[in-house]
């Protein structure tokens, strides 16, 4: 009984200890406060960013890049994954292409993003969607390929014979859990790409961080780092909630 309570409290104790050590290090003179802001500096920094409207603007921009990049990347990934998963010809045609393009990290596309789109929203969306695309593509391909053939036969036995009917009646619902696993991974990956894409100057959380760091406003940098962590947590929670609704047919 007592043990259970202690165990519940352990994460909180750990967090408090972490904050205490963090607070102590600059205060004891072990690090310069300009290079390592203390936790107690943060609320004030956050309020400053909030009151001058920068925080909300940066947040809005980043969320826009994030959502659009996710949509484009996941849309293309699901679409192509279904195509190659269902049709051997498409799989064959794409086999080597994907083997060549896959290992290139999203950031390797930055030079082209700048050349093609300039330092613009479109460039940021492009970089984000590339990272998302591969994750979602391989998840979808695998999920479609491993759909139980017996269930596909059920669709055929009841007269659903076209590829479109097979897809919508059986393959897509059956593959949904697998596709969602990929999407969840992509959700995290996309956040990393957001920061990377914006570090090059497209306005948003990432670019505001770079501005602040060049002015040695490290407390503001930390505010944005925490903002991203909070947003990712929120997205993941929202995702898990909608996944729970979408997959409510599964035994819990």
């Amino acid at each position: 009984m007592k043990n259970a309570v202690v165990r519940r409290l352990l994460p909180l104790i750990g967090l408090l200890a972490f904050l205490a050590i963090w607070e102590a290090v600059p205060r004891l003179g072990l690090a310069q406060r300009t290079l390592l802001p203390t936790p107690s500096d943060l609320p004030e920094a956050f309020l400053r960013e909030l009151s001058n409207g920068i925080w909300i603007t940066a947040l809005g921009n980043s969320l826009f890049h994030y959502a659009l990049g996710l949509l484009v990347g996941a849309g293309c990934g699901v679409g192509l994954g279904i195509l190659t998963g269902m049709f051997g010809v498409a799989e064959g045609l794409f086999a080597w292409v994907s083997r060549i393009l896959r290992p290139m990290p999203g950031l390797a596309w930055v030079p082209f993003a700048i050349l093609w789109f300039g330092v613009s929203e479109a460039g940021a969306v492009f970089i984000i969607s590339i990272g998302v695309f591969w994750i979602v593509y391989f998840a979808t391909f695998g999920a479609i390929r491993s759909v139980d053939r017996d269930l596909v036969e059920v669709a055929q036995a009841f007269g659903f014979s076209s590829a479109w009917e097979r897809l919508t009646k059986v393959m897509l619902p059956a593959a949904t859990p697998g596709i969602l696993v990929g999407l969840r991974t992509a959700l995290g990956q996309a956040w990393m790409s957001v920061v990377a894409a914006e570090l090059f100057g497209v306005s948003g959380l990432g670019s505001r961080m770079m501005q602040a760091s060049s002015l040695l406003a490290t407390d503001i940098v930390v505010v944005y780092m925490l903002t991203m962590a909070a947003l990712y947590g929120l997205m993941d929670a929202l995702f898990m909630f909608s996944q729970g609704r979408l997959l409510r047919w599964r035994p819990s």
Binding site: Q156, A157, F158, E165, A174, L247, W249, R250, P251
Partner: protein, 263 residues
């Protein structure tokens, strides 16, 4: 027993051959198969596993094309579909509720959502599971799942019900309960049933006529009418004698001495 006349013949298979290409080698599955099934008849097809019983059903469904011979189906004009198949392992779609699974086949067509649901509920009532309409498949027992699978086939109002060892994965008491229920539903709905099984006792208990398949490739070894009035009594002398004869049809005379009629 009533003779099958040409006017009431719903299934007419003549000289059916079927072979598959496997690893570059041709494998014959069925050879020279003739079978006529009359309207409203309950025909059981028995044979050892691998003799091509399930394949025969898939040929009828049009899921597999015959290599030679003709397959003619003359569905009862009052039916909405020529046939529907009940699989051995219920094969319900796990992401659909029980009711939605039963309505599945109806989505091919122009029925409204409400009409589909109503039809599905009727079919579920026939199999005695209307109470479970909103459950998920994983919440059902094996027997319940197989009833839902039967309801899914009944819902499309087929002329012919094809059943592929539908009760073989169930325990004995569930199986016997479902056998009796199938007979009740068959009489109530006036359908033709083609029932594949490897259980000879099941075949003679249920069917008007038992078709024994044997050999490799599979061919019809014998056909026997079951001239026993319903309700039948399990394990009665008449059914047991017939079961031994069917077993001898399949395996030859020496097999009669065995005491286990399940192949």
């Amino acid at each position: 027993m009533s003779e099958v006349t040409t006017t009431s013949t719903v299934i007419d298979i003549q000289g059916l051959n079927l072979s598959f290409d496997q690893d570059g080698r041709k494998t014959d599955v069925l050879r020279g198969l003739n079978l006529a099934v009359g309207h409203g008849e309950f025909v059981a097809i028995v044979g050892a596993s691998g003799v091509g019983k399930s394949t025969l059903l898939r040929v009828l469904m049009g899921l597999v094309a015959p290599s030679a011979g003709s397959v003619r189906v003359n569905p009862d004009p009052s039916a909405e579909r020529p046939m529907a198949l009940v699989f051995q392992d219920s094969r319900l779609l796990p992401w659909r509720s029980v009711c939605s699974n039963v309505a599945f086949g109806l989505e091919k067509g122009s029925m409204t959502r409400a009409a589909r649901r109503q039809r599905a509920m009727e079919a579920l009532t026939v199999v005695g599971l209307a109470d479970l309409a909103d459950r998920w498949p994983w919440q059902l027992s094996g027997g319940q799942r197989q009833r839902v699978s039967l309801a899914r086939a009944l819902a499309v109002r087929p002329s012919i019900l094809l059943m592929d060892e539908p009760f073989s994965a169930l325990d004995v008491s569930t199986r016997e309960g479902l056998q009796d229920e199938l007979i009740r539903i068959w009489r109530q709905t006036n359908r033709t049933i083609l029932f594949v099984t490897h259980d000879i006792d099941e075949a003679v208990y249920l069917a008007d006529r038992v078709v024994a398949l044997g050999g490799k490739p599979g061919e019809v070894r014998a056909m026997r009418h079951v001239d026993v009035d319903r309700p039948r009594k399990r394990g009665s002398a008449a059914l047991d004698d017939l079961a031994s004869e069917v077993k001898a049809d399949i395996f030859g005379e020496q097999a009669r001495s065995g005491d286990n009629w399940v192949i």
